[in-house]
């Protein structure tokens, strides 16, 4: 038997990977083909509703990510250094939004921050009304997307050897500056990876948003909501919106992937 007779030999894992990629790629390709062949594609791409929704999606998800990273880095850092029963409980609590159906998340946010919610009167007294506002869109995005970031960043921080931080301090660098000069650069790939996941979740957020923030063009109608709304009238328009969302997301994810690898220490070199 001449095993070289087969021009390409793939291990089982490779074959399954190919099947999987086809499974993921086929619907996306179909989406593009249908959207491109639809005569209204260009009109849809440049329509006010599309551009408004796209702008709203990008702006809200950007603000969400600023909050998620700003709060998530200290949280992840704190949790990465804690062990013990309490921190395990906190770990689980932080992950809860991951298992919550988004609609339920939106409902829960209404129960807490809505007009009839637990904090409703207090917020009202302070002159803050969240439901049906752009702020509500951002809160919903933060609620569902933050766990992805915190999880990844926490693992990243845990992988930074404690010894390196200690050495940095013995070299005269304060703990705060050590964080910026050693911890953060070493955890960077995980942080950017977490950011990518988190952002992807935020930009695609739908259920919690429509529940908590409603659906109004220019104020709370993000791309996924615009897609669903367009479905009610014109599948072609919905397809066009979907194509734009996918394209914008792929671009952002690629940029983030690039940012993660640029600064990365090769795998297994941390020790």
């Amino acid at each position: 038997m001449n095993r070289r007779a087969f021009p390409v030999r793939l291990p089982p894992g490779g074959i399954i990977t190919l099947v999987y990629i086809a499974f993921i790629a086929l619907p996306l390709i179909a989406l593009f083909v249908r959207a491109v062949s639809s005569y209204s594609l260009w009109d849809s791409l440049t329509s006010d509703i599309t551009l408004t929704a796209l702008r709203l999606s990008l702006v809200t998800s950007l603000i969400s990510m600023i909050v998620v990273v700003g709060a998530g880095v200290p949280i992840a850092r704190y949790l990465s250094r804690r062990t013990g029963p309490l921190s395990r409980v906190i770990d689980v609590l932080i992950d809860v939004p991951l298992v919550l159906p988004p609609v339920v998340a939106g409902l829960a946010m209404l129960m807490a921050f809505g007009r009839m919610g637990i904090l409703g009167d207090a917020l009202d007294a302070a002159g803050i009304r969240l439901p049906f506002t752009t702020a509500a869109v951002i809160l919903a995005q933060i609620f569902v997307s933050a766990p992805f970031f915190i999880r990844a960043a926490k693992l990243g921080f845990q992988a930074v050897p404690r010894e390196l931080e200690e050495i940095s301090q013995t070299l005269g660098i304060s703990p705060w500056r050590t964080f910026w000069r050693v911890t953060l650069p070493l955890a960077w790939p995980s942080i950017v990876g977490g950011l990518a996941l988190s952002w992807a979740r935020a930009i695609s957020e739908f259920g919690a948003t429509i529940m908590f923030a409603g659906n109004l063009t220019g104020r709370t109608q993000t791309m996924p909501l615009a897609i669903l709304s367009a479905m009610e009238s014109n599948v072609g328009a919905a397809l066009a919106l979907a194509v734009i969302l996918v394209a914008a997301s792929v671009i952002v994810l690629f940029v983030l992937a690039l940012a993660a690898t640029r600064a990365a220490v090769p795998a297994g070199r941390l020790e």
């Binding site: 050897p161 010894e163 390196l164 200690e166 050495i167 940095s168 301090q169 013995t170 070299l171 005269g172 660098i173 304060s174 703990p175 050590t178 000069r181 050693v182 650069p185 070493l186 600064a263 220490v265 090769p266 070199r269 941390l270 020790e271």
Partner: protein, 362 residues
């Protein structure tokens, strides 16, 4: 610029109770088995451990004093700590690692100088994973010294090098250390390394310093069997003093079985008939494949090889000479093949009288 202090610290059942006084440009070796508290001591001096009690003084300024409630954080202590795996920053180049702790033009100049001294110019733009073990060690040393520490703490600095390289770089490092005029505390569990590098040795066991002094007396011929065992003296023989020969500065000792074998040792404070412990380092026992003639060495015993066990950098060969006498000899792999040493081979073990030393009972 000297480093001195004492600390007492308790972690569960383990308690640490050590003190030190190191002059600039000298090396104090903290020698002991793993788990003795050596690394903990270094971490304590660096300020990485919160201590129960103690006082630590570096270059005349106090960085810890439990009575005064004083505790200076690590980044204000100016200590150079070099951990076993060197703790180099993988995201930085060699040059950035060395300059990491350099805080003023002076220390930047020092970093440049150390880069030259330690022969690291060619490697400056490399990343850490592109370096060999010996190169990493030099980078770590340069980095620690460039920050102009008031004490240099080296934790098993040669442990991750292979044995050939270890010997080669030891002297080079020794020179750099002496030239740096920094007090150095070096931790090791390797007696040979301690002997090669130390100006002063402290033997630490279970958190306590059990012996200290100059390296040769403390490690070559340690005063008590327990310390001898710690110091890696492989042959500890229970013998009876048979005859004192003050005129030769020698005495004869016999094994406890009859008919006894006789061993000549240097004269020590003992009376005839006393049972004593005699220590001989395995590296001081010479093996011969045929009966040696015309030797100055006083002690020659015939025996058979009982076992051969590898121990870096060579092998421990145990020769059973009968009458309750077994001697362990440390020989190279090369010697084993050349002499044709196998289990059961007939060999002669040779020991100079001056290599034997008497251990006081403890």
């Amino acid at each position: 610029m000297s480093a001195r202090g004492w600390i007492k610290h308790r972690i569960g059942a383990f308690s640490l109770d050590v003190s030190w006084d190191v002059e600039p440009g000298t090396v104090t070796v903290l020698y002991g088995p793993s788990g003795a508290g050596k690394s903990l001591t270094l971490r304590a001096i660096a300020g990485l451990v919160r201590l129960d009690e103690g006082r630590i003084e570096l270059d005349g300024s106090v960085v810890f004093d439990h009575e005064a409630g004083l505790w200076i954080p690590p980044h204000h202590r100016r200590v150079g700590l070099m951990p076993q795996e060197y703790g180099l920053f993988p995201h930085l180049t060699v040059a950035a690692n060395i300059a990491y702790g350099a805080h003023d033009p002076d220390s930047h100049a020092r970093a440049a100088e150390l880069t030259r001294t330690l022969d690291l110019q060619e490697l400056q733009q490399r990343r850490i994973w592109q370096l060999s073990g010996g190169q990493r060690q030099r980078v770590a040393l340069a980095r620690a010294l460039a920050a102009q520490p008031r004490v240099l703490l080296l934790d098993e600095p040669f442990a991750s090098l292979d044995s050939e390289l270890r010997r080669a770089v030891r002297q080079e490092i020794r020179q750099v250390l002496t030239a740096s005029h920094v007090p150095v505390i070096l931790v090791t569990h390797d007696a040979e390394e301690a002997l090669a590098l130390a100006d002063h040795v402290q033997i630490i066991d279970s958190g306590r310093i059990v012996a200290e002094g100059d390296p040769v007396t403390t490690l070559r011929q340690p005063p008590a069997p327990r310390i001898a065992r710690l110091a890696g003296v492989e042959n500890l023989l229970r013998m009876r003093v048979a005859r004192l020969q003050p005129e030769d500065g020698a005495m004869l000792c016999e094994t406890l079985e009859s008919p006894p074998l006789t061993l000549e040792t240097p004269l020590a404070e003992a009376r005839e008939g006393d049972v004593v412990t005699v220590g001989i380092r395995s590296s001081d026992v010479i093996l011969a494949s045929s009966e040696p003639q015309g030797l100055s060495a006083r002690n020659v015993f015939a025996g058979t090889v009982a076992s051969i066990e590898p121990r870096s950098p060579g092998h421990d060969v145990t020769v059973n000479c009968g009458a309750g006498l077994s001697l362990v000899s440390h020989v190279t792999r090369h010697a084993i093949t050349q002499l044709g040493i196998n289990e059961g081979t007939r060999m002669w073990a040779v020991v100079k009288a001056s290599s034997c030393f008497l251990l006081s009972e403890d």
